[in-house]
Symmetry: C2
């Protein structure tokens, strides 16, 4: 008997018919002898409907009241799932975040989970019940309802699994796992059976939006075995087959783990590059540039500062393409005169391509393989950054698909393993 946490997204909960299928799938796991805690999202479209009502009333609705309203979506889907489970002949009870309680800080609409009390849930499990817990929400120290932000139900599920010391947390979603890269770009992309949580972190932050990044951080911190798998398989497929499907995000580098040096190719369109040319290479320059941009609530991604020549250096960074013009204006008006920079140049048509792999830690020459592959394809590299398990390059947007396909092949990811 294992203690398993299931998480179902809004699409899986999108209608009573689909909720019934979720209940049948959960019942299959219970009948196989497992204890189940289920964390559902709101029915698809419901959160947007609720927030839309609030926005009709105010352009600047209070974050506390938005949470009060949005949290009801998961409360409804959780109650419905408990009823569907009862209709399957199981005992079941649903809890809102405050009832568990899932304690968070007081940051409305983007709260962070601080602790989870597992006494109530454990008692229910011991009594043979399936416990349904609302995703996406908790309760602040002052007793207000909080929500965790978009995709927060993944984090709820992982946090519950961590608190309960669950044997595995299964995230049922509309993709069937984590791929070496986006199959829409590289048809040969293959699903990874296992990926380390560090690799998953890098891939999540780079746009492989399978899981909310905070849920991966949480899983890594509390060493929760996390599996992403498809909610579109028939509910009555063999349980052993289902239990091994999808991708396991593991915190252990055990022998069974795939030992590919590079696990995947991530990429990010919609980036823009800006260079402040010829600034004096003195302390505080980076802050004077990036600080100004951050103050305008613009997220900066890659930041590169090169070695200086004649006391002058070039400072480059990337922002989302939507923020490009605003950032250029800001720099030309406020930063260039102050710093005495020679000029501000920008390019809104670039993209970022990264190779990610925990094996890069112990393998030399990975970056050079990447650069050679791009060079062989005639692709010019504009910027390079590296971390322990990731190497990213900024290139012209038009070469993105070509670069991803070439790298995917170069690092042996095309091969079909068993």
């Amino acid at each position: 008997m294992a203690l398993i946490v299931h998480k179902y997204g809004g699409t899986s909960m999108g209608s009573t018919e689909r909720i019934r299928n979720v209940a049948k799938r959960v019942a299959k796991w219970v009948r196989a002898g497992h204890q189940l805690v289920v964390v559902p999202s709101a029915m698809s479209g419901e959160t947007n409907r609720l927030l839309g009502l609030a926005k009709e009333l105010s352009g600047t609705p209070s974050a506390r009241e938005l949470d009060m309203i949005a949290a009801t979506g998961e409360q409804v889907s959780s109650g419905l799932l408990a009823i569907a489970l009862q209709a399957e002949g199981l005992e079941s009870v649903s809890y809102a975040g405050w009832q568990v309680p899932i304690k968070t800080d007081s940051s409305f609409t983007k709260a962070r989970i601080e602790s989870i009390d597992d006494v109530r849930v454990r008692a229910d499990l011991a009594a043979g019940k399936v416990v349904v817990i609302t995703g996406f929400q908790g309760v602040s120290p002052e007793g207000h309802i909080t929500t965790l932000g978009r995709g927060g139900s993944d984090t709820s599920a992982v946090a519950v699994a961590a608190a309960m010391k669950a044997d595995e947390c299964l995230i049922y979603t509309d993709v069937d796992g984590v791929y070496t890269t986006d199959p829409r770009v590289v048809p040969e992309a293959r699903r990874l059976n296992t990926v380390s949580f560090e690799e998953m972190l890098e891939m999540a932050s780079l746009g492989s939006k399978v899981l909310q990044i905070r849920s991966v951080e949480f899983a890594g911190k509390y060493r929760v075995p996390l599996r992403v798998l498809s909610s579109f398989t028939p509910w009555d497929i063999d349980l052993d087959e289902e239990a091994k499907s999808g991708t396991l995000i593991s915190f252990e580098e055990d022998e069974n783990m795939e030992q590919a040096v590079v696990s995947g190719i991530a990429f990010n369109r919609d980036e823009a590059k800006i260079t402040v040319v010829g600034v004096p290479d003195t302390p505080g320059i980076a802050y004077q540039i990036v600080g100004k941009v951050a103050d305008a609530n613009i997220d900066v991604d890659v930041i590169i500062q090169n070695v200086s020549h004649d006391g002058k250096t070039d400072f480059s960074f990337t922002v989302h393409r939507n923020d490009f013009q605003r950032t250029m204006d800001l720099l030309q008006k406020d930063v260039q005169p102050t710093l005495g920079a020679k000029e501000i140049v920008g390019d809104p048509k670039i993209c970022k391509v990264s190779i990610v792999g925990i094996g890069m830690r112990s393998h030399a020459g990975i970056a050079s393989t990447m650069f050679k592959t791009l060079s062989d394809e005639g692709i010019n590299i504009q910027m390079i950054t590296t971390s322990e398990i990731k190497t990213s390059v900024v290139i012209d947007e038009k070469y993105m698909e070509l670069a991803v396909r070439a790298l995917h092949k170069a690092f042996g990811l095309d091969e079909q393993k068993a």
Copy 2:
């Protein structure tokens, strides 16, 4: 400065446009210097939508989970109202039942309020906030969400007003007050400026469905001045005019109160009459008949047992017309043989007409005026029951309108007072 509780029904909260109007009305009261607590129902249709989803999943959904689901309707409307109040420039906060907390027993879907903690609400009012509290719901001793049953938001509002010792509880609804009888039956019916809570109790239970009967009981028990008034007046009508509109349900028999002997004529269609003829007049007969019917979950209204002749008596009662055939079958199959009753006779086409008035306590001859009035119209009385402030007769359904109009006139209710 007064402490006022406003309650708005589902129609008043039916769209963001209407919620905005509620906020403007509340703002008017706050700007006049009052402290406001507002109790809204769910947006119209929402409770039915939610319960409909549950019924799609199970023919016998768990009451606990139904409450979990249904309670979200008021949570959404409360959050939206707080946002609309903020958009009007007021400080406002909304609380779900468990946050106040409104403590109830554990009877899911028909819970009773046991106590309300006013500390949190009072602190917010002192800080200048408008407090919005979800109607219809509370929290059980075990920390489960409970609901109070249909129309429960009226009870929530009165209970909050009682706990806060509010100066008045205003129930905004889709009628503009309590009438001497249904204006659709008697065009001369007039709105009562004041009605005693005992009279209101009798009228509510007899079909003047302006207020949920439990809210009236609550108001009487805790002596909460309660006013029913229209939510369809423009929000910007003069506050003094609005404050005096509708009908005040008063617990004080003060001199200003209208001293009509009969305050109103209530009636109830859709009743059916059943008589068990010739049963032995021995102890336990009433229980053997009514007990059987109640066990089948059939509500019994009027019950009459006449004096016996030769050790035999006739036992009559009324039920809802929808339950008529089922009750007849039950009695003929189970009760008649056991009791040795002569026969079971029934009439599904009767109605009940009642005169209600606190003045009846101290005025003789009221019942005889009623009987004479009906006799003058050639209406045969089939059953009579009386209480301290009410006399009811059961008559042929086809005479109902005639009886109500004649009684309305006979007791001087047609006159237009100032």
